[in-house]
Amino acid sequence: MEQLAALIAATLSAGTPLLLAGIGLLVNERSGVLNLGAEGMMLIAAAAGFAVGFHTGNPVAGLAAGALAGVLFSLIFSALAIGLATNQYATGLALTLFGAGLSAFAGLAYVGKSVPFKSTFEVPGLSALPFLGTAFFKLHPMVYLALALTGLVAWVLARTRAGLVIRAVGESPESAHAIGYPVRLIRVGAVAFGGACCGLAGAYLSLVYTPLWVEGMVAGRGWIALALTTFATWRPWRIALGAYLFGSVTMIQFALQAEGVEIASQLLSMLPYIATIVVLALISRNPAFIRLNMPASLGKPFHP
């Protein structure tokens, strides 16, 4: 029983970076912009967050630095893809390549270093509960923050004027522009939000989850988060479902290893990637269903 509780806790921790990045990218995509630079933003934020956390000794400063790095990096994307109307696929890809290169270069000084931060916090009172305490109330605050953010995004998108404007810009930028909304500015804002979320996710990985800086440590989570938005058909709570589902796939590999199952670790590490492919294939099977749910202007440049 206690083992199952620990597994649930580990799943929630593993799903959190995916949820954070996924929810940011969701807002990003609902405004009509596809940023394939997620992996690069997460990498640069992981490096920046780790560096700041290492020097200040303050995990909050590290996470904030990661978010800031994500925003700054997203601005490069915005300047090109929104400002200069470049191809969004190619620009995002460039951002990922640049982020991978720059983080590997800048992070070299921190390879092999570690940060002394606690990765779990006990919620007073609740953490003493049998089973539930271990499963849900001895986690890092970021796990709860990610869920709160999901709720906030779901509410803003569905129930507020700001959300309506973001969706309008994503569905029909021409109409939004004709009514007088600053389409490109709104998109820059949405992309910056995506950058901040991806940045938080990256810094969470290097400061809390791993916690180490290793070159390429995001290991495709940015791409999996991008796949999550399709999986969730662009709905916030389904992102959370998908993120924890993938978190549990990651956990299966550790659980199997702990059980002493004789499978090479490299083969087990393939699981999240293969799961992503399978899930993508299943969910995309019906093109009409995807087209119905996808923001209509996704990936198309807009210039007034």
Binding site: T91, A94, L97, L280, L282
Partner: protein, 350 residues
């Protein structure tokens, strides 16, 4: 505020100038980077653009790096021309290398000298199969080829690490994660004694000519171009979108797989945990910098090879980590995209 104004027609002049402009921008940013790192920019740029070309050996190393870059970029250019966003050439390269390595490890001591041809064929089949998975899932399940091809790159990389740590590890290799070194018959013959260049570079030139002919002269190449430029027109003309997906991905997989085979049966001579320093990803930049044109890709592969070698040299000459290569690659693509804007838009200041 500067405003972008669409040109009535894309500017052909800017099409050629943009890569040059991008290189210029990269040099400017590189200068700033070297200054920020407290290094002399003159010495820094020299390491990247002059030192590799000072000796015959340097030229042969450039040629050696150009082969995988060019082969992958040619495949990717075919994909991008037909609007198929394959970004998994890296994985197709790695799996091609694995398949070629597997065939090479099977060679007995009495294998004929031509055995390397089967090794190369193995590489082609490996890359083809890996790209085929992406094509199948895109065609049959409408799964996004960007994400699938990238996920398969991670799977391919892990497969290689598994093999060299497990079943294919050299039992006499002091527990290093390397395969046995291949028998001489499995290796691509050297072109000149004294350099590491193999006949692979000749093969690459042949492939270059073939791809050029395919794109410029064949009906299938024309159909791909139409599908890429004007999907609707292609549909009305009755060109099959499925053909475009399968053909471009399989060709790219075959070329990337061949590149992987040439690498493991050439300079490497065995399987190691990392057979590619990101050639498949760098080739994306090469394809774009080369304007998705075979001839342009040669020029772009040359530049990219210099950046790779410059990165390796900067370790010893400047005391900078080789990871600087990745920074330059990213800057180059970002600069290129910026410069590309001027093909379709004019900047108006007002």
């Amino acid at each position: 505020m500067p405003r972008l104004e669409a040109r009535p027609a894309p500017s052909p002049l800017m099409g050629y100038l943009a890569p040059v402009l991008a290189l210029g921008l990269t040099v400017v940013f590189g200068t700033l980077l070297f200054l920020a790192l407290g290094k002399s920019p003159v010495a820094g740029l020299r390491v990247f653009f002059v030192t590799p070309l000072e000796t015959l050996r340097g030229w042969s190393e450039v040629g050696l790096k150009m082969v995988p870059l060019l082969l992958c970029a040619l495949g990717l250019a075919i994909c991008y021309r037909s609007n198929v966003w394959n970004i998994g050439a890296e994985g197709q390269f790695v799996v091609g290398g694995i398949a070629a390595g597997g065939v090479a490890l099977l060679a007995g001591a009495d294998a004929p000298r031509a055995y390397f041809v089967i090794v190369l064929a193995g590489g082609i089949v490996g890359g083809l199969a890996w790209a085929g998975v992406t094509a199948f899932l895109r065609d049959r399940f409408n799964a996004n080829e960007i994400l699938v091809s990238l996920m398969l790159t991670y799977v391919g990389g892990l497969l290689l690490i598994y093999l060299v740590n497990g079943p294919w590890k050299d039992p006499k290799g002091f527990n290093f994660p390397y395969s046995k070194t291949f028998d001489a018959a499995a290796m691509v013959p050297r072109l000149f004694p004294g350099t590491r260049l193999t006949w692979g570079i000749v093969l690459a030139v042949v492939v270059l000519a073939a791809v050029w002919l395919f794109l410029a002269r064949s009906k299938a190449g024309f159909r791909l171009a139409v599908a890429g430029h004007a999907p609707l027109a292609a549909r009305f003309a009755g060109f099959s979108a499925r053909e475009g997906i399968w053909l471009s991905l399989l060709l790219c997989g075959a070329l990337a797989g061949l590149a992987g085979a040439l690498e493991v049966a050439g300079p490497l001579g065995q399987l190691t945990p990392q057979i590619s320093p990101g050639y498949g990803f760098a080739a994306i930049i090469v394809a774009w910098l080369g304007r998705l044109h075979p001839g342009g890709c040669v020029f772009a592969a040359f530049v990219m090879a210099l950046i790779y070698i410059g990165g390796e040299l900067s370790q010893s000459r400047l005391g900078l980590p080789a990871a600087i290569t990745g920074v330059f690659q990213g800057m180059l693509l970002l600069a290129l995209l910026t410069a590309d804007t001027f093909i379709h838009y004019r900047v108006r200041w007002r």
